[in-house]
Symmetry: D3
């Protein structure tokens, strides 16, 4: 499980943070967050390209790649106030689904078991099965709740004869016991999938899925308040999974299965910041960024900022920073 | 008036629903909705390309083209709970405006007169003249109100010596008596057209036009409530015409005359759903999708979803489904 | 300082308004607004291309280039009710920063000193240093307040050994005394720049910077109300500087340093309209439109409309037009 | 027939040459070449967009729009050694085919009858019917031969019930007697259209069509030598019609009906230069440039250069310049 | 093995030819050519997207989808003079490599064993292993020679632990005995892969690989003459495999691993035509078309024409048509 | 002059070769070739973007970034048989022309003076002034001949008041005496610039410029033969400067000043290979790659391959490899 390096393109780290080898126990010991690339689009049912997601999320910015990002509003530096390391891409050979999934689960578990938070850059959403399993293996099956941003429930059963496409990871996670269905919180669902049978199964699991109609009527913050309460009820930690297609295609065109009518970029960034500041997050993934369908890199920028908001939120939580969202940016006025 | 088939590209149906020939009286008899393609950009004043709108609206989706789309929020299937058929493209030879308009009006009338709702996929907005006329011929001139989503009033008089461009259909409809000016409801107008003379004419007709400033201040739902009341006052049915440019260019770049500052995709989808659930809709068109200017197909996706929200709303109305927009998606939580 | 004409492409004027030569004193005498192109991207730290901004802002529209734009909501014509002239591009030779800056400052001053409002089409944001200085030289250093829409504070100190990049103009303006720090109002900041030291400097200057979190919580109109009060306190006029990247990249992808999570196009247009209607605006620039990164011209359309909203607001102010934003568009309903 | 100005976008002239009004007899008297825009895509059978061809051909260049283009190889300046004027766009209202065709024919005839060479910027290929007819009306029906670069023969009969699409102009020209079939020389045909019947008709007319297979085997210069001989046999002048799709889609992607396997850009430019140097050219059109399908403007650049090679060749012919294509560029080596 | 229909998008046939079900023995009996889609990019080492190749090759044309394509030069109609049927896409579930390969091999064998020529639309190049194996199983292992157009040798050994990527099919075919190494003819290789070891293996197999340098010096026709002789030596039939990346990226940008310096589109089309006219072709595939990286559909157009040239050549061979490539298109001149 | 690292984006090396610091004398001692990035577009007269050239040339490939590229035809490995190091980007602050030029000249001189060949990745063509000067300072003014591939002569005098734009470096080099005019060999010129005065100056310098017409008639190899003879006459070494716009825009769209009618990619690659194999090359630059105007990265791929052909040619020359371009790739056939 040595550092794999570059599967697609040059070997770079997230905005210039230090690299790390997963076999380097000492280096991992001091890490707060370890970034992993999951360059995998083998589970994609439609437009592929998420294999290039990790490199584009790591590298898309107009600021220097210097391992520092002071957060304007929170006044923390997510890359400096935390020890963030980048372990490179996990080896996920195209077409070798079983191997790929196991490699990723092992890598995530390695990070989690050393006390660091894995931040996995996808890749299609099928990677959340190994991501969340890897964390749950360390913290205990059933002890981690899930907050899941997505246009799609991803609770499908067998598709094309396969159990492991990007429409199914959430079902697998609940079936395996890694996560509890009644601590599974979905934000942003919409559209025309899945059908009644799957929705029935979801209800049986007592999942709590916030469709866009409800979010639109109640407001996202109100929904989050409720969700946070559920998430913390008899669970020790939270896994945050962000499918970039939770945003409207106008804000995130570079994705495989765009579903009109989603969140604005602003709403997603605020929500991710809140979650990481207010909840005990133990693992994160950001998935479904497909560069071939992006333009002017706006989807890659958004995913990069989702990571930065998460890291900034984590840093603010660690440092106990208080922040009044309605207050002025600068002191003295 | 046999099935024309494919004017631009292969002969496909909307998401795989069954095809129908307009001459097949028996088949039409059982139809609830009949889809018609109007591959016409001969009325376009600026960027062309809407001739490819019907094929892109029919075919743009990441789900299987299997003639089924269970609606997540409403719990209906717009393609299964209704009998939806696709009659293919109407023959609208490029450059043959008169012929094209008549062919389309006949096709729409054929559908309406057999009791089905025509859903016409444009094409530029000039097609609404034959679309709404075809419906009014069946239900009675002056008996159908209009709800019209658009950045532009489309009430221009002669342009370039022509009466039939895409900036004029609404004037023609009122002048002919097909629709009443005082039952004409426009949502989303903005920008710098038309000028005072035309606005004066519109006021004389007692049209009710909601400019974006008003919508922004009052909220779209409040405006819709008011509009619904007008629409139902001494009219038997509603025609719904959706110009995709009512949305902001960030959500719908693939259109001919993009006007910044429009609705979000979410707002449009919600409004279309409400209209089809709450009003007696007798005809629909979705226009001004121009694939050459689209990217990552996000405008085509949006138009496809406008159709699906309309169909789902119709299905919910037929089946008498009740739906609390602020309620949870799944039972039991 | 004769009319330079066309640096990049054909010599066109903004939507067909009359051209003017800055040496033509008589012509300038009667002008209300003079448009200047600043085809400069020599201060850009990342994605270039704003040199093509002026031509794209001038020429991007689907309506005739006929020097008339009746505003639907305000019922004024910003190009007719005001005398708007276009002086062409200022000569700003690529690579000749010092010369370029001086040429632009002189041109702006020439316009301002003849009593007209300069409307400068950028170019990158480094042009605001000469733009606002040129106006302040006429109205008095410290007599003009600034309302600045941007994702970035642009208050950086030396970068790459240069004082004059697009991340620094606001600091230079305050340091020179042209503008007062405590009358400097920034709307829309967000992201991860600048760091604590620069924020400290900004606080010392008593700048008032509205980060997106605050805007989101309080609402933009509420923030503007407060800002207007500050702007008018012991100042005679307002300079309005609009960096198109204040909008979300989904609404304005064609820019050099896109920062997710910004304003919607609608919000920006409304704010610009309000500012020009309610405040004594003495100078305007619209910057950071980068056509190579645009698609379907949506960013150029937006910048063109920012200009038109500004001009329409100015015209409404001149003509004393009253406007109820919640009222209906047409009389009689 | 006054100068129409700008149908789509600002009113610019070809690379900055002087404008002219077709009613200005005096100005026309001294002209060698008059440029006309034909912003028409009403005859297009598939991808539209050629309405924007004239403006993109006029304006696409990286050199100043200063009305001068010294030709490197020929040592002439096509814009200075000839008196080249630009009469703007002919009024061709979208959808008004009959009017459009007549307006264009009149404009071309006006130019030709005053002794100047019309250079018409398309527009789709249907414009060649009025273009060549306008010239033939002046020089005599049957007195002008045609050299026609194209992937397609454009000799179709009725299509979609219309006689005037872009696949038919060459048949109409021969049928009307304007041009002789046996002086009709086509270069670059290929693909799968038209069928045997039309080919039979073409053979009956004794057309000479060089398909790409023949050109590939014999070489383009050899074919041109033969064609020139036919063109000059009992005819007084030559009309040159260049459909940009004669080039391979790799060199000219921005066109409506791209047919792989065409000429290189280099080959086309050389051929156009030869024709205008060696033959008595009396009229030219350059058609089927469709900007919405172009990228990096490479098709517009190519069409602009086709015009410049034509103008340079005409200038060299006028001035009797001798040129050894195998000789060195600079004297003395 | 019933007709699978549409894996990605609507169920269309190649340019409108009749559909067929592979289980319909009677229908297959009369077929000359059966088209199969192989929507697979599971073997792609870099840019994915070839899963959308079959639908784009089938549907990309500006002519009607009417099942007829008269060849201009050869005077045959490849879709009419032959009985061409389209069996739809083979079921190749993403991620299910083994299943996918077997399904494709079975489908190809089903076609070949009924005496028809399979024409497989890829998909990445890994599909050639099942394609050629399916044919060889019918005609005999070692009895079919291969003509392989490609920038890459595709003779790699294990990659990423997998035997079945798109860089390896040719090795697998030779190792299995399906094809003979000394009847393996590669045209168009170039670049920097594979290394010496693999080249050594290729030499041992006595493969004949024409690198672009040799083709450039000798001419493609000369190389083909030599290759044809080898191909026919003690073999009964030929399999033709065309990787679209054999063409220069300027002519075929929409592909996964573009290698500059390739053939022109014209050269490839001529070569494919010659092969199908002059050799006993028993199977064909056209691979590596990746629509997400295409623009203006030029790569899809090229691949569509590769199919048409092949079909036209086959038809000419069947009908014994003689054709002088240097002769005129039309009779009588 | 320490390693600058990453000006625009992550710090990567050319295809994974080892990095080097220019201050590390020991490391440089053993280098054969040192790669330098010149991320500069401050001299660009039109479309900018070449600042992103170095990173795109370094990183654009589908093969692993493993520092090895075995050349198929030459059987050398340009990255392994030579010691190739990458010194990163030279510090060239946007807008600081003088500083930028000096930094680059020093860096190039540092490489040359230690006996290695600098390979500079542009950047616009203004960088060739410091590039060739840096080499000439080491080998002696007037001792290095120039082979210059370009559509443009780049011998302009003052432009926009500046001496140092990308249209002037060649004049500056001759004027300074760094290079001899009569050992200046230009390949691929075409178009409409410069005018007679500049051409006169070029002739006076006894430059030898091969315009495309001459190359087309004589063949590129014949021209190169002649050029090689001149280059070696009383000079000790050759500088090779490749402006990617020497290729046709169809092959290299991603550039600032595309000029139709250029070389094919194949022709350029062959020529570069020959030059580096047959001549004593002492310095190389590859310029004018502008990623914002590229699509599917085809221009970046081409520039990457220009570098690899150069390196492979250098390696073959070092190792004395003989190569018959008309011979077979594999032994034994």
């Amino acid at each position: 499980m040595t550092r794999y390096g570059a599967q697609f393109g040059p070997d770079i780290t997230f905005l210039g943070v230090d690299p790390v080898d997963l076999d380097d126990a000492e280096a991992l010991a001091g890490a707060d967050v370890v970034i992993l690339g999951a360059p995998w689009d083998g589970g994609t049912s439609h437009r592929p390209g998420t294999r290039f997601g990790p490199q584009s999320i790591r590298g898309t910015d107009y600021l220097p790649h210097d391992g520092s990002r002071p957060h304007l509003a929170l006044r923390v530096d997510g890359l400096q106030d935390l020890r963030v390391l980048d372990a490179g891409d996990v080896e996920m050979p195209p077409g070798e689904q079983e191997v790929a999934r196991q490699n990723l689960e092992e890598a995530v578990h390695a990070v989690a078991s050393r006390g660091a938070i894995p931040l996995v850059l996808g890749g299609d959403h099928s990677i959340t099965l190994p991501d969340a399993t890897g964390v749950a293996r360390h913290l205990g099956f059933g002890r981690v709740s899930m907050i899941h941003f997505d246009a799609h429930a991803d609770t499908g059963d067998i598709e094309f004869g396969s159990l492991y496409g990007h429409g199914q990871p959430m079902r697998r996670l609940i079936e395996s016991g890694a996560l509890r269905g009644d601590r599974f919180l979905q934000m942003g669902l919409r559209g025309y999938w899945p059908g009644p049978e799957t929705l029935g199964w979801m209800a049986e699991q007592r999942m709590r899925s916030y469709e866009m109609t409800e979010i639109g009527k109640r407001g996202l913050d109100d929904c989050l308040d409720e969700a946070f309460e559920i998430a913390l009820d008899d669970c020790d930690a939270v896994f945050l999974s962000v499918d970039i297609d939770v945003c409207d295609p106008g804000h995130a065109p570079g994705t495989g299965t765009p579903e009109p009518g989603g969140l604005s970029a602003r709403a997603l960034l605020d929500a991710v910041r809140r979650i990481c500041r207010e909840l005990p997050v133990a693992g994160i993934d950001v998935v479904e960024v497909s560069p071939p369908y992006d333009h002017a890199e706006i989807t890659a920028f958004l995913a990069n900022r989702v990571c930065l908001e998460a890291l900034s939120g984590l840093a603010a939580r660690r440092r106990g920073i208080d922040h009044d969202p309605a207050g002025p940016l600068l002191e003295g006025r």
